[in-house]
């Protein structure tokens, strides 16, 4: 943990120094390329006024709602795929068709179907995350060493008991990798969708905030919001996923 903080800190300081040098050199107009001090001040102001916190909170709420829905759907659909070969084939085709389709391309449809509310954004998040998660989960299930299955059957497990007690934990490295991919895709889909919704006049979210600040020519505000996105990303990747990995697959000596 300390090690990773050190590693990150060195690079972050380096980037800030480079940035500040570029900003002070006067090559770029200060309006478009504000100094770190101005960005820092805007960031602190935004946090103090609650604007950044509220918008980040709204974005995180949407992402959690979307991911929970995705997780439930993934477990249900992947379990069905393990129990029925026909359904497995169907799901395989569904993933092949839907996975290459960017979530944002479905946004016009989502707006028509669900309106410009939260439902549309959650729909886009679920679409962005569901297919890679299913792909990973089913791959994980299929690569479970046959011996775990046999051990389970040997002590009297079958059907959904076998899936939940043996297949899910045995495939956990893949599930976690799927969740990581899902998380980063959800984050992108969310910001993109919020930006489009900003133009449609719906309040809330970091994407919308960035869009609004650009409109007001508050470039340091745009950078402050980008900083929030980066900070949340690092916290989730290093802290949350790092902790989950250490407590599960690293402790168990498993890896994907």
């Amino acid at each position: 943990m300390i090690e990773i903080i050190k590693k990150r800190a060195i690079f972050i300081i380096l980037i800030i120094a480079l940035w500040e040098t570029a900003a002070r050199s006067g090559i770029f107009p200060p309006l478009l390329f504000p100094s770190t001090a101005i960005i820092g001040k805007t960031f602190i102001d935004g946090v103090m006024r609650g604007e950044l916190i509220n918008n980040a909170g709204f974005s995180i709420y949407l992402i959690i709602a979307g991911l929970v829905l995705t997780l439930l759907l993934t477990i249900a659909l992947s379990t069905l795929a393990m129990l029925s070969r026909t359904f497995d084939n169907f799901l395989d085709t569904a993933v092949a068709v839907m996975n290459p389709l960017p979530g944002i391309a479905l946004l016009p449809l989502a707006i028509l179907w669900f309106g410009t509310g939260q439902m549309s954004i959650i729909f886009i998040i679920v679409h962005a995350t569901l297919w890679p998660m299913i792909l990973n989960t089913v791959t994980g299930f299929k690569t479970v060493p046959p011996i775990y299955r046999e051990v389970g059957e040997n002590i009297g497990l079958s059907g959904s008991g076998l899936v939940l007690s043996i297949m899910v934990p045995a495939a956990f490295p893949y599930l976690l990798a799927g969740l990581k991919i899902g998380w980063s895709r959800a984050w992108r889909a969310l910001i993109a969708a919020e930006m489009v919704f900003g133009t449609a006049g719906v309040n809330g979210g970091l994407g919308w905030y960035i869009y609004k600040q650009r409109y007001l020519m508050d470039i340091s505000g745009v950078f402050a919001a980008l900083m929030v996105i980066v900070i949340i990303g690092i916290l989730i990747e290093d802290l949350l996923f790092g902790i989950i990995e250490r407590r599960t697959i690293k402790r168990w000596g498993m890896s994907a």
Partner: protein
């Protein structure tokens, strides 16, 4: 008048595999009985079908013809009355501690009280000498320790027959000898019925009270030898050499 209880009966068992229109007879008309408390060794060269036979008894494979009876019940699929100890070191569930691995079959078998399951698992683990490693994860154990845990797990549900598929074949010579001695102790202590597969003549002599020699292609029982050598047995103990020569002459090593 003593009525002999048959723990296991193998009646006219045939097993045929089909491989690209080619018919491979793995087991050809096998017949034998196990009495309760038998330690029955099946000895044969690799590829003779001894593992296939054990997998049929475990219920992982269906017999092509014939019948396998445990007590008065015909085998139709895997079940906890016939628990298996596999050869590989990867048979423990890596996401469970040693104690949880041994408790797990008890949980599946609906032993209701957690305290009772725990107590029972702890007791068996101390019998196999792993009382101090109950909270370790499998990847932290040596090969010999893993096989001990696997034996403890298989014993936990008190199976009618314990199936052992060359469980000591991947161990170094010293550990193997130690575990053979321990298996004899367990067998005497728990008074269980064991089928033990091996390709090692020495191991068969030291363990078995009966030794079935299998021939290959097709797999048939060539002869069943009563082994009444006095225990504890060791290489060179009275009668060992004669029996070794007899068994060696029976095994055909054609093609190996």
């Amino acid at each position: 008048m003593i009525t002999i209880v048959r723990a296991l009966q193998v009646v006219n068992v045939n097993k045929t595999f089909f491989n690209q229109n080619q018919q491979i007879i793995a087991l050809d008309n096998l017949n034998f009985d196990l009495e309760e408390g038998d330690l029955f060794c099946i000895l044969g060269p690799s590829g003779c079908g001894k593992t296939t036979l054990l997998r049929c008894i475990a219920g992982f494979e269906q017999v092509t013809a014939g019948e396998i009876m445990v007590g008065s019940q015909a085998v139709t699929g895997p079940g906890p009355d016939r628990t298996m100890v596999f050869q590989g070191f990867d048979q423990l569930l890596p996401w469970k501690t040693v104690l949880e691995n041994v408790e797990f079959p008890l949980k599946v078998s609906k032993v209701p009280a957690k305290a009772e399951r725990r107590e029972s698992a702890k007791q068996i683990l101390s019998v196999v000498g792993l009382g101090d490693f109950m909270n370790s994860y499998p990847h932290e154990l040596s090969g010999g320790m893993k096989q001990r845990v696997a034996i403890a797990r298989a014993l936990a549900v008190r199976p009618k027959v314990l199936l052992m598929d060359e469980p000591f074949a991947s161990l170094d010579a010293q550990t193997r000898t130690a575990l053979q001695t321990e298996l004899i102790n367990i067998w005497e202590k728990f008074n269980i019925t064991i089928i033990f597969i091996t390709h090692n003549i020495q191991e068969a002599i030291i363990l078995g009270n009966r030794i079935a020699v299998m021939s290959q292609r097709p797999g048939m029982i060539k002869k069943i030898i009563e082994n009444n050598l006095e225990r504890p047995r060791f290489v060179g103990c009275p009668g060992f050499d004669e029996m070794w020569k007899e068994l060696h002459a029976l095994i055909d090593y054609k093609g190996f």
